[in-house]
């Protein structure tokens, strides 16, 4: 029988259509439910959209469905999008962060668990040269979840995952 971990592992093979990471590393998976009988099982996957208007949602849902439905034990697979809880950049995994940085997309750091208000916010370091001498070019980047920054030190434009809340 199929276990939750199997589905999770399988979904690592579903890439985000617009980012070089899997939807698991992007933190889109909210829940995987499996109802099993003796011979077959029904899988239900709940996903969180990065942005309400992300045009890739249908494609992602279809990819998830097709990936899971190909398993012989799976009778059917349902995929739904949830608005609650809201997705945030904090859901991106460590592996996902590293992968994004490698492709020139930086990710905001986690807030830390103690809920303390940070006394100082640092500039966003350039993913290419590490310089903190960067500035926001536009809060609206090539996809709904990215903004555009410019690095004064190495004169490169780079993308930054938006933190909105």
């Amino acid at each position: 029988m199929v276990a939750q971990e199997d589905i999770q592992t399988l979904l690592l093979e579903v890439p985000d259509p617009e980012l070089p990471i899997s939807i698991v590393d992007l933190g889109l998976i909210q829940a995987i439910r499996i109802e099993s009988s003796e011979t077959q099982c029904h899988v239900h996957v709940s996903l969180l959209p990065t942005f309400v208007g992300c045009p890739a949602l249908d494609m992602i849902a279809r990819d998830v469905h097709d990936k899971i439905a190909q398993l012989p034990e799976v009778a059917d697979c349902q995929v739904e999008w949830l608005f609650d809880p809201p997705w945030s950049v904090d859901r991106i995994s460590e592996a996902g962060r590293a992968q994004l940085e490698k492709h020139g997309v930086s990710v905001p750091g986690c807030q830390g668990g103690d809920g303390a208000v940070p006394l100082m916010t640092s500039a966003i370091p350039c993913p290419y040269c590490g310089s903190p001498q960067t500035r926001l070019d536009s809060p609206y980047g090539p996809t709904r979840c990215r903004s555009i920054y410019f690095c004064e030190a190495c004169r490169n434009q780079f993308e930054h995952m938006k933190k909105v809340d």
Binding site: P49, F51, V52, G53, P55, L82, F83, D84, P86, D137, S138, P139, Y140, G141, P142, R144, I148, K162, V164, D165
Partner: protein, 254 residues
């Protein structure tokens, strides 16, 4: 459909959804024409956001009243659209008009959606909670444009002030009481004066920073405009254009 159109809460949600449908549609005309590349992308992204926010609200109403969201969006009688006169005002492809109009609308919608997010229906709250951060981003971005253009030299300043002089007199119509709420003992709009003050106080801070001036007035409860289906010509042109494909081929998809 009639159940929805005669329900006060649904009227209110429709008013905000219709605002966003029209704004998103009109703004998409700017794609390829933005003043700089980054803004071309940004303004197209904001149009996309507005359309998706409208869809989210139509979906909520669709679930509640058993209707297809596309039918709500595109197949109502023109008099049953509740978008306000500010939304349907043409920007005449003048960037100053576009920025001023969208900024006034975005700041108002931010307050309205925040109030809707305190509703007692969990699904509506989740949807509004998801819209709100994206709405906040629009307001911040458009405020920057107001300040940037107002402080970019005498010609730019004069054009921004002219746009404001042209559009500000209509702005208060965002608080026209929508559709069937008119005769209702309106739970939501009993805070009409309060919303107006919160909104215009916020606008005045930005205007002062920008070195611009405008006066806003709250229309009388009985003034009738777009929110009660009495639309300007521009609205009808836009609606005709927006529903053209659907009329030629009902159910078309790609």
């Amino acid at each position: 459909m009639q159940d929805m159109l005669t329900n006060p809460t649904a009227s209110l949600i429709l008013a905000h959804a219709d605002d966003k449908l029209m704004l998103g549609h009109v703004q998409s005309d700017w794609t390829g024409l933005g003043p700089i590349l980054e803004e071309d992308i940004a303004s197209s992204a904001m149009a996309q956001d507005d359309l998706s926010h409208a869809l989210t609200l139509y979906e909520y109403l669709g679930n509640t009243y058993g209707l297809d969201p596309d039918v709500i969006a595109f197949e109502r009688d023109p008099a049953d659209y509740m978008c306000c006169d500010l939304t349907t005002q043409s920007d005449e492809f003048d960037w100053a008009n576009s920025v001023v109009k969208r900024w006034l609308m975005a700041a108002f919608t931010q307050i309205a959606i925040e109030r809707l997010s305190r509703h007692d229906d969990a699904d509506l709250v989740a949807r509004c909670g998801r819209i709100l951060p994206e709405q906040n981003l629009q307001v911040t971005h458009l405020e920057r444009w107001i300040k940037r253009l107002a402080q970019a030299g005498p010609e730019s300043q004069a054009r921004m002030q002219a746009a404001l002089d042209r559009i500000a007199p209509l702005a208060g119509m965002v608080l026209e009481i929508p559709g069937r709420l008119v005769n209702d003992d309106d739970g939501y709009y009993c805070g009409r004066e309060e919303i107006f003050k919160q909104w215009t106080d916020q606008l005045q801070i930005t205007l002062q920073d920008a070195g611009l001036a405008a006066t806003f007035t709250l229309p009388d409860r009985n003034v009738e405009g777009g929110r009660r289906g009495k639309h300007a010509d521009h609205f009808h042109e836009q609606l005709t254009e927006m529903t053209e494909v659907r009329r030629i081929e009902p159910g078309a998809a790609w």
